[in-house]
Each structure stands twice: as C-alpha cells, then as structure tokens.
C-alpha cells in the first residue's frame, strides 16, 4: 500500500504555468478527492502523479513526487514502470475500439508481454468482478468493448486499470460523462476498492466528494491565466463543515466567484 507525497509541484504547458507549488500528502487505503473550479489545474496535477503530464509535447514539471519515499521524477526512474504502479481512469470512457471486452481488460498485461494466454482468463474475471462488471458481461466477453453502455464502459476501463494490479488508482472525473445511476455504481465501487488501493479522485461534484472521500483537497485560481494553487487539504468532514479558508467555504457553499 503506497503513500504519495507531492512536494512543491509546479506544472507547465510550454511557457504557461498551470499549477504552482502544490504540496500534498496522499494517504494509503483512503480516497483523496481533489475539488475546485474548472481550469484550476486538478487534471494537470493528478497527471503529474503518474508521469502522464509529460506525454503532452512541451509539458514539464518542477518539484518532486514521492511514492513511498522514492521520487518518481528522479533520474533513472522509468515512467513506464511508474504508470504500471499508478493506474489511471479518465473522464471519458476510452476502451480500445479494436478489442473485445476480454482483450480490453487484459490489454495492459498482454501488451506488456508479462503473462501467458492461459493465465489471463482468471485475471480478466477477477478484474471484471473487482469493477462490478462481471455479471453483466460474462457471457459476451468477445463482444467489442464499445458495445457497452457509457457506465459499463467506464467500469470496463476501471477493470482494465486494476488488471495490471497497480498500487494507486488515479481517477479524473470518472463520472462526469455518466448518468446518475451509473455514477452511484462507480461510487460504490470506489468505496470497495479503497481497501486495496490508494485512490485519488478529481470531481467537480461536491456531493460526490463528500460521499466517497476521506480527505479533500481544494484547488483554486485567482484569475483566469494564473496558475492553480492548493488552498487547503484536510479530512473531508472538516473541509465540508468548517474549512479554514474562506475561499473554500465560498466554493463549498456555492458562493463562488
């Protein structure tokens, strides 16, 4: 079970600074929610935690991100291994369109060449069960992943992410493209998964943050064009009842901007 510590992380897109000086500890076996107005750098920050930020041309970061005391940005660290340890689920469900449901789930393992075909089936089943999708798809594992509904596709993406057995799961607004019923299913799933994974979830839905998370970090930006900053972080119950900062309070109570 891994703990993540971000120390003085700043992130740029070319010359534009999107996130400034974020220092934040993410505890294991907990759900940490990142909330804040749109454009304040939540996505950018969460992507610095598994080195997905640098995939974008011209993007770079400053500061350090410790995964159990090891800096994932230290020289000699392989970003590919980092991403195997810290999985990610995106805002829009993005199953691989050329692959069946089964192949989508085992994609991480197959494409890394780490497992033999025969070993894959039980892993696929376990991952789909973990994502609460097994019962719905067990008799159509060979259908294309894109044939599922939006909510099912998102759970397929979660199954795909946990099939590679990461230590940490990052979720960037995993429910914002889904209907309320699918959203509740995924929230239940997050509650189950937090026994096994360290989870970070970005959400712009305050009720969702209150429902699923143990601690909450509030980001904001002063004016458009400024970098986003971390305002405060604490136990979710505290952030939502008596936050230290008045900007947090304004945002929580809907008096933002």
């Amino acid at each position: 079970m891994k703990r993540i510590e971000a120390n003085h992380v700043s992130a740029w897109y070319g010359t534009f600074k999107a996130v400034e000086d974020v220092t934040l500890a993410i505890e294991p076996k907990q759900v940490t929610a990142l909330i804040g107005p749109s454009g304040c750098g939540k996505s950018t920050f969460i992507r610095t935690l598994n080195r997905m930020h640098e995939v974008i041309p011209g993007a770079r970061i400053d500061g350090e991100v410790l995964l159990d005391a090891e800096d994932i940005y230290a020289s000699g660290i392989d970003p590919v291994s980092v991403r195997r340890t810290i999985g990610m689920v995106f805002q829009r469900p993005n199953p691989f369109p050329t692959m069946s449901i089964r192949d989508n789930v085992s994609a991480g393992l197959r494409l890394n060449g780490t497992r033999k075909k025969a070993e894959l089936d039980p892993i696929v089943e376990r991952a789909l069960q973990g994502a609460g999708l097994w019962k719905e798809v067990r008799d159509r594992l060979d259908r294309p992943g894109a044939s599922l509904s939006g909510g099912q596709q998102q759970r397929l993406c979660i199954a795909r992410a946990i099939a590679v057995e990461p230590q940490v799961l990052l979720m960037d607004e995993p429910c914002s493209a889904l209907d309320p019923v699918s959203t509740l299913r995924i929230e239940d799933l997050i509650a189950e998964l937090k026994d096994q994974y360290t989870i970070v979830i970005v959400t712009h839905n305050m009720q969702q943050a209150a429902r699923v998370s143990d601690s909450t970090a509030f980001f904001t930006l002063e004016v458009a064009g400024d970098p986003g900053r971390l305002v405060e972080v604490g136990p979710t119950s505290k952030i939502f009842t008596k936050p230290d900062d008045e900007r947090t309070e304004a945002y929580i109570t809907g008096r933002f901007g």
């Binding site: 995939v55 195997r84 999985g87 691989f96 050329t98 294309p144």
Partner: protein, 351 residues
C-alpha cells in the same frame, strides 16, 4: 405590437404547418416541364440529341422546383435543388464508371476462356486466334506484390515517424519530399530505375526492376493516407495505453495501428490499384516478354498492362480481342486484391 415569429408559432399552431409536395404532384410537375421542352423541340427549329437531353432535363427540374416553391416555400426549394444536383452528379459518375466496366466486359469476354488463363503468347502471331495472358498475369501479380512488399512497410514506418516522432526540420523535409514524390510522373520513376538499376548496375530488365519503379509510385500514396488515418486516432486511446504502463512503441503497434487499420488498408489498396495499371514505367523495367517467366529476379517479364498495350497496338482483330480480355482481367485482378485486403482487415475489426 410586433410579435416575433416564434411567439406567433406558439400562439397560432397553423404557423407550424406547411404544404407538402406529394409524389404525384412532383411527377406531374416534372412531366409538365419535360412535355413543354418536347413541345418546343417539335414546334420550333430546335434540334440535336444532346441539346434535347439537356433542355428536357433543365425544364423537368424547373417544373419540379417551381411546384415545390409554390407548395412548400423557399427553404424546401433549396433543399430539393441540392438533392437534384447530388443525384445528377452521382448518376453521371455511375454512368461513366458503369459504361467503362460494361464495355470492357462485353468486349473482353470474347477471348476470355480457360485457354486464355493457362497459356502464354509464346510463338503466337498477331493474326492467330490463340495465345493467352498467363505470363502477363504472373508478371503483374509478382511485380505488384513485390512493390507492395517494398512500399507498404517503409511507407507505414515513414507515416509513423511523421505522426508520432516527427517534429522540426527533418520532418518537414520528409513531408516535402513525399509531397514532391506524389507528383513524379510514372515514366520518370521508370526512367530512374532504368538508368540506375537496369543500365547503371547492369542488372538488366526484370520483374524486380518493375517492382522498384512501382514502389516509388506507391510510397507517397501509402505515406500520405496512412499519416492522415493515424492522425485520426483519438489521443485518448494513446493516453489510455500509456496509463496502463504500455511503452510507446507497443502502444503504436498494438493500439494506434489497429485502430487506423481500415483506413490504412484503403490507402494501400488505392496505391495498389494505381500502380497495377501502370504501363509506361514497365516498358523501361520489365520490358515485356511473350513467354512464361516465373522468376521476377532475372530477365524480362510481361505484365497485364504491357500485354494489353502490345495486343491493342496490333491491327488484327484476334489481337484486339486479346487486348480487351487482358483489360478485363486487369480490372478483375485489382478487384480481387481489394476484396482480399478488405477481408484481411475485417478480421481486425469487431462490430
């Protein structure tokens, strides 16, 4: 007070209604226009078949659109006009395509029999009602497949370089070179291989030389179409692959390329179809040969375009019949290759 249109629509439901041009009315209006045009040709000194077709077409369309404007209003006229234009254009294209196919088929079947597919032109004179295109079919298949073998993998690699890795000077240089290559006349590609390989390196005429010339023509088409198709793959799929800890090269090979494979195949088949019919560069590289030459690596070889060219240049009807049969075979070969390629990529795609 002035009431806005939408407000009126809410209060007065009849504003939502409009006339509908029924099929009977449409046919009647069109027929009226056509009849007027026919009358004009009958009563006035107007004449000429092409003129008659054009005038009746325009008059029929005008009648149809007038009726639409009377009954349905302006927006619908524009809509129907666009529809008429599209249907007309599609019809003209199909007519052109269909007449080429049908004419070739009608002329081609005459000399087309089992004998034609199993014999060469070895020892057959232009007047003889014998001989076949076996040697040419073998030549075309070998040359085109070899050309594809050269051009498709390298073209794909260039396209991957351009989309995934190419930034800066080198990439724009490569892109410019590829653009220039698109414009190379086919005879120039043949001439280049002739000067460089056939004469310069003293390799002589061969199917291989022909394949190299054809590969030069295929390469830019493959690169450009593959590049466009790879660009269309959503970045989200790449990110999903990276986030699973899949290295970049594997993500390209196993996620990006399969997703783009249908489009890439279309591009490859376009390139194959384009070069299968090439004649000029083959004159300087494969040269042509009347007997069966199963070895593409040494000695002159025939091909279907060369066969058609040779037979069609003759004045004798037996030879001309063979030329048409060869042309029909050429169309069939391209068609078969296209269908085969579709079947291969179909397996890659679910749905």
């Amino acid at each position: 007070m002035n009431m806005s249109k939408s407000a009126q629509a809410i209060i007065n439901p009849s504003v939502l209604r409009c006339g509908r041009l029924g099929p009977g009315q449409a046919v009647a209006a069109t027929a009226g226009g056509v009849a007027l045009a026919a009358l004009a040709f009958w009563l006035t000194p107007l004449q000429g078949r092409a003129g008659f077709l054009l005038v009746t077409y325009l008059a029929g369309t005008t009648g149809y659109l007038l009726a639409a404007s009377k009954i349905e209003g302006r927006r619908s006229v524009v809509d129907r006009l666009a529809a008429v234009l599209m249907v007309t254009t599609v019809g003209i294209c199909l007519l052109a395509l269909g007449s080429v196919l049908i004419y070739t088929a009608v002329r081609g079947v005459k000399a087309l029999d089992w004998y034609f597919f199993t014999h060469s032109m070895n020892g057959v004179g232009p007047r003889d009602d014998a001989g076949g295109a076996y040697h040419a079919i073998v030549g075309t298949l070998q040359q085109v497949l070899l050309a594809a073998l050269f051009a498709v993998p390298s073209g794909l690699l260039v396209a991957i370089y351009l989309t995934e890795y190419g930034t800066g000077r080198l990439a724009s240089l490569v892109r410019t070179v590829i653009d220039v290559m698109v414009g190379i006349p086919s005879i120039v590609a043949g001439l280049f291989i002739y000067a460089f390989w056939v004469l310069g390196l003293r390799r002589g005429f061969s199917g291989l030389a022909a394949a190299m010339a054809l590969a030069i023509l295929m390469l830019p088409i493959v690169v450009r179409s593959a590049e466009e198709m790879i660009k269309l793959v959503p970045p989200a799929l790449r990110e999903a692959a990276y986030a699973l800890g899949i290295p970049r090269w594997r993500a390209i090979l196993r996620v990006v390329l399969p997703t783009a494979s249908a489009g890439i195949t279309t591009g490859v088949m376009l390139a194959v179809a384009r070069v299968t019919g090439e004649t000029a560069p083959l004159l300087l590289t494969a040269f042509g040969f009347d007997s069966i030459q199963n070895d593409p690596f040494s000695g002159p070889q025939s091909s279907l375009p060369l066969f058609v060219f040779g037979q069609a240049s003759s004045a004798f009807s037996a030879a001309v019949d063979r030329a048409w049969a060869g042309a029909l075979t050429l169309i069939a070969v391209v068609l078969l290759l296209t269908v085969a390629a579709r079947l291969v990529t179909r397996r890659n795609r679910l749905v």
